[in-house]
């Protein structure tokens, strides 16, 4: 298979899948062939695919295994969640009961607050919230990445530190005094941009938005990996010291990638929240990061389609297995992961290539024997 033809196949596949997701599924849903429930579930998968891409951008392309992506994902979710909480307005439980004249989020009333804290106020604006979705995780990644890459923390150390950061952040968000909803986080959203979140049409719109975002991110990373920047990025993965000694400031490259991937994860989180209908600190734990790493590993790291495929396949498996075998789901997940790491380092995407020789052998069993007598 030549490079050109494989690119053609990829282009056709992506075009078909994208058209199906962006146009086909919503149309089927609008005419009642696909249930709202499944649109919601698939919307969730696509958000996870965004998270998986952000992991892959770091791990697959740059060799940095970050266990902090779930934190960025959740932060993005929280930023948009703050806006959605304020949009509940008079539909809140306390407001309906007439006990919430200031129209605070319900959890604040529950905790006995009487006015909206200053850092919550700008979130009345959707534009500001959308900006914060990118800015807050981006700046956090910038600050942490600056510290980490400046002192040349890499490999397993980087993983452990990002894990610790995520752990700390989750502990912080679990607290009520953080004023971010504590254990229960945000939930019970009603409106986004004036449309009712509880209707199928809004959910369909969000699904389309997610699919479009995914396509854009996919194209962006595809473009990036074909530039010189992408080349340096992969060179850092394969031999950082050589790149460093060739005169490239590897730390700057890594910092850019880390920040970019934080922003991607964060956008994924922001799209996740209105579709799932809530966010709480358990999304932020290091285990969730590791789960995202599993998706990438199973799908195939260092590829563009691998993380998307992995996120969808594993989550579909999860949806099925948590109902059928609730006790054994984690054993299936862990076992699958061990098997993939041991036996299929290239992930699902590499399967066709690995099966190709077998397929050839199956098609022409006599061929190998014919060529051996020369020895």
């Amino acid at each position: 298979m030549s490079a050109a033809s494989s690119r053609k196949i990829e282009f056709i596949a992506v075009a078909v899948i994208a058209t199906f997701l962006i146009v086909g599924l919503p149309l089927l849903n609008a005419y009642g062939f696909v249930d709202n429930f499944w649109i919601n579930v698939w919307g969730k998968y696509l958000c996870f695919a965004l998270l998986a891409i952000s992991v892959d951008l770091l791990w697959g392309y740059t060799g940095l295994l970050s266990l902090g992506q779930s934190m960025f994902f959740a932060l993005g979710g929280y930023m948009l969640g703050m806006h959605l909480m304020l949009m509940i307005g008079e539909e809140g439980v306390y407001a309906k009961a007439g006990k919430n004249p200031e129209l605070l989020p319900d959890f604040m009333v529950f905790l006995g607050h009487t006015f909206l804290p200053a850092f919550w106020r700008p979130f009345y604006s959707f534009g500001f919230s959308a900006l914060m979705v990118v800015l807050v995780p981006g700046l956090l990644a910038l600050a942490f990445g600056f510290l980490a890459f400046r002192s040349r923390i890499k490999g397993v150390y980087f993983s452990i530190l990002t894990q610790a950061l995520t752990y700390g952040a989750a502990l912080l968000f679990f607290r009520n005094s953080m004023l971010m909803g504590g254990n229960n986080g945000f939930t019970d959203f009603k409106f986004i941009l004036g449309s009712d979140l509880r209707t199928g049409a809004t959910q369909r719109g969000l699904f389309i938005a997610t699919a479009v975002t995914l396509l854009i991110v996919y194209l962006l990373i595809r473009w990036l990996s074909h530039t010189k920047f992408g080349l340096v990025q992969r060179a850092i993965r394969d031999g950082e010291n050589r790149v460093l000694f060739s005169g490239y400031a590897t730390a700057h490259f890594k910092l850019f990638i880390f920040t970019l991937s934080a922003a991607i994860a964060s956008v994924g989180g922001a799209l996740y929240v209105p579709q799932v209908g809530g966010i709480n600190p358990s999304v932020m734990t290091p285990e969730k990061s590791l789960e995202a790493v599993v998706w990438v590993a199973v799908g195939g790291r260092g590829t563009l389609l691998g993380p998307i495929l992995g996120a969808i396949v594993i989550n579909a498996l999860k949806t099925w297995a948590t109902v059928r075998y609730p006790d054994y789901w984690l054993i299936i997940l862990g076992g699958l992961f061990i098997l993939v790491v041991l036996f299929l380092p290239g992930g699902l995407v590499s399967l066709p290539k690995r099966l190709a020789p077998l397929w050839k052998k199956f098609r022409a069993p006599a061929a190998p024997t014919a060529s051996t007598p020369a020895v």
Partner: protein, 568 residues
């Protein structure tokens, strides 16, 4: 010791008994019950004043509540206490008041008596007052030290001026220094209520000298009263006493924090030691290290059950137990001694199995080994859940680990003292293994230069396996300790794994002294921040931040194993 104690207990008895020293309290009470003269009765009962034997409150209470009866025979009247259920004839077992023996008939057989055989022993109101006076202070003179201490504290906190005389009488007789202090405190607290200002001042001086934590609340209350009265001398004296109490509290808190920090540090140390060895040797971060802790803790739980009621193995219908063992047997207390080596062995075996089956294929891919071991950790957690349920299991502390020493108000729990001591022993043991045995030599050789060691004929595969077993076994040991301090549950390892990684990273990989120092400093900082901020979560977050910043300064940890290699 025994004789000394007995002497201590007998002393007040001799001093307080002007008459009838040969008679036991039982005999005195029996005589009082039988006596028909009210004055004699009162004298007899009052003569019990100051004695602490437990039979006195028992019998006097019985008498007051009409539970002592007079059984009349032809020759004498015998006071008895009835017990047990009535049988068909309405008869009950009777116990003699004077010697505590069952009532017997002429032939020496236990006698059961029915209602018409006896009548209730009377008591006048004057007699009841005398009894109450005895009962009030009976705990003060109890042979049991804890009971005495409690009685004194209760009286002091009630600030009842009528008890001053009793306490003062008791003070010179008390020999236990703790109870003596408590007596002085109680007296001073009561005197704070005195009308005379000089007495109040004297009490404040006394409280200042004692500086007990329990007096702080009373002093604060007194201070507000004094301020309301605008009495400058009293305010000054109270403030000085309060200051002294608070200084004492600070010292206690400070030392207590150090102690808790050391014990947390010791657990981190044992945990991180295993991780440091495996990571230093193989570059493998074992995400399932936390589950090795759980393996150790669950082994302790199983051993406890085997020593106690036995366990049932569901798959084969077998039950495993040691004959003659039960929860109350003396041997049950020693389950922990057996659990320590077994938890090490069990975790080591699981670790070796893990190394052989998975990790050995991933030495060239450290990041992926991190992921594979995470998979193992998820699987193991779920297996624990299926085997032992998702709730925490109960591991009881043996008697010798569940007490504490209180030195100058600082509480030293025996379990924590034990953990610190044992951790130090383990560090010493690991140091011995690494520096004084041939296995240690091989481990160090492989750590420093795997290729070269292999060329010299070291079977690096085997060394890897044993080292991994050692590291996992240490985690299992830590699990056995944790079962004495914290909860044992399927995800217990997750609570420690991040701290544990931090300890290794801060200490410098594969470096024993570094690990020791970093474990204790993280433990101490954590506890100190908890104490200062009164908030464990914020403290923990600050520790994590501090570590991230620390790594800016020393990216490779406290102690760096230097090498000329670029890629490590």
């Amino acid at each position: 010791m025994k004789y000394f104690l007995r002497a201590v207990f007998l002393l007040p008895l001799f001093l307080c008994l002007p008459s009838g020293a040969a008679e036991t309290p039982r005999e005195i009470i029996a005589r009082a019950v039988v006596s028909t003269d009210a004055v004699t009765q009162r004298t007899l009962v009052s003569s019990l004043m100051g004695q602490g034997e437990e039979v006195i409150p028992e019998l006097l209470t019985a008498w007051r509540s009409d539970a002592i009866f007079l059984y009349k025979t032809d020759s004498a009247t015998i006071p008895v206490v009835l017990s047990g259920d009535k049988d068909a004839a309405g008869a009950q077992v009777a116990t003699r008041v004077d010697n505590g023996q069952p009532l017997q008939d002429a032939a020496g057989q236990p006698l059961r008596i029915v209602g018409k055989d006896y009548k209730t022993a009377d008591h006048t109101s004057a007699l009841r007052r005398a009894m109450k006076a005895v009962l009030d202070i009976v705990d003060l003179v109890s042979p049991n030290r804890t009971k005495r201490l409690q009685a004194v504290q209760t009286i002091g906190q009630a600030q009842d001026a009528s008890k001053i005389a009793v306490l003062e009488a008791r003070l010179p007789l008390e020999t236990d220094p703790h109870v003596q202090r408590a007596l002085r405190e109680a007296l001073a607290l009561i005197r704070l209520k005195d009308a005379n200002e000089a007495v109040k001042l004297a009490a404040l001086v006394e409280l200042k000298e004692l500086s007990t934590l329990s007096s702080s609340d009373f002093l604060k209350k007194f201070l507000t009263e004094a301020e309301a009265q605008k009495n400058a001398t009293l305010i000054a004296a109270t403030k000085s006493a309060l200051h002294s109490v608070e200084t004492h509290r600070d010292v206690v808190d400070f030392l207590g924090t150090i102690f808790r920090g050391l014990s947390l540090g010791s657990i981190l140390l044992v945990l991180a030691l295993g991780l440091a060895i495996t990571f230093g040797l193989m570059g493998v971060i074992n995400m399932a290290h936390g589950e090795m802790i759980a393996v150790g803790a669950y082994t302790t739980y199983l051993v406890q059950n085997i020593f106690g009621t036995g366990i049932v193995i569901p798959f084969f219908g077998l039950s495993l137990g040691i004959p003659g063992m039960n929860l109350s047997g003396w041997a049950y207390q020693f389950y922990f001694v057996a659990a320590i080596p077994l938890s090490f062995l069990m975790a080591a075996l699981v670790g070796i199995g893990l190394e052989r089956s998975i990790i050995q294929w991933l030495y060239r891919r450290p990041l992926e080994s991190l992921l594979a071991t995470w998979g193992v950790s998820v699987v193991l957690q779920q297996i624990f859940k299926l085997m032992f349920g998702s709730n925490n299991v109960q591991v009881s502390s043996p008697v010798y680990l569940s007490g504490n020493w209180t030195v100058n108000d600082i509480i030293f729990g025996w379990n924590r003292v034990f953990v610190i001591g044992f951790a130090l022993m383990i560090v010493f043991g690991v140091w011995l293994v690494l520096t004084r045995t041939s296995l240690g030599l091989l481990i160090r050789a492989v750590m420093q230069n795997r290729g070269m060691a292999s060329c010299m004929g070291v079977r690096t595969e085997r060394v890897n396996m044993l080292t991994f077993g050692l590291g996992s076994g240490l985690a299992g040991l830590a699990g056995a300790f944790l079962s004495q301090i914290g909860n044992v549950g399927p995800s217990m390892g997750q609570n420690y794994i991040v701290d544990c990684f931090m300890t290794v990273v801060v200490g410098g990989v594969g470096n024993l002294p570094g690990t020791v120092i970093s474990a204790f400093s993280i433990g101490l900082t954590d506890q100190a921040l908890q104490q200062i901020l009164l908030d464990p979560v914020i403290g923990k977050i600050l520790v994590l931040l501090a570590i991230i910043l620390f790594l800016q300064w020393r990216p490779a940890g406290l102690f760096v194993t230097r090498s000329r290699s670029l890629e490590d």
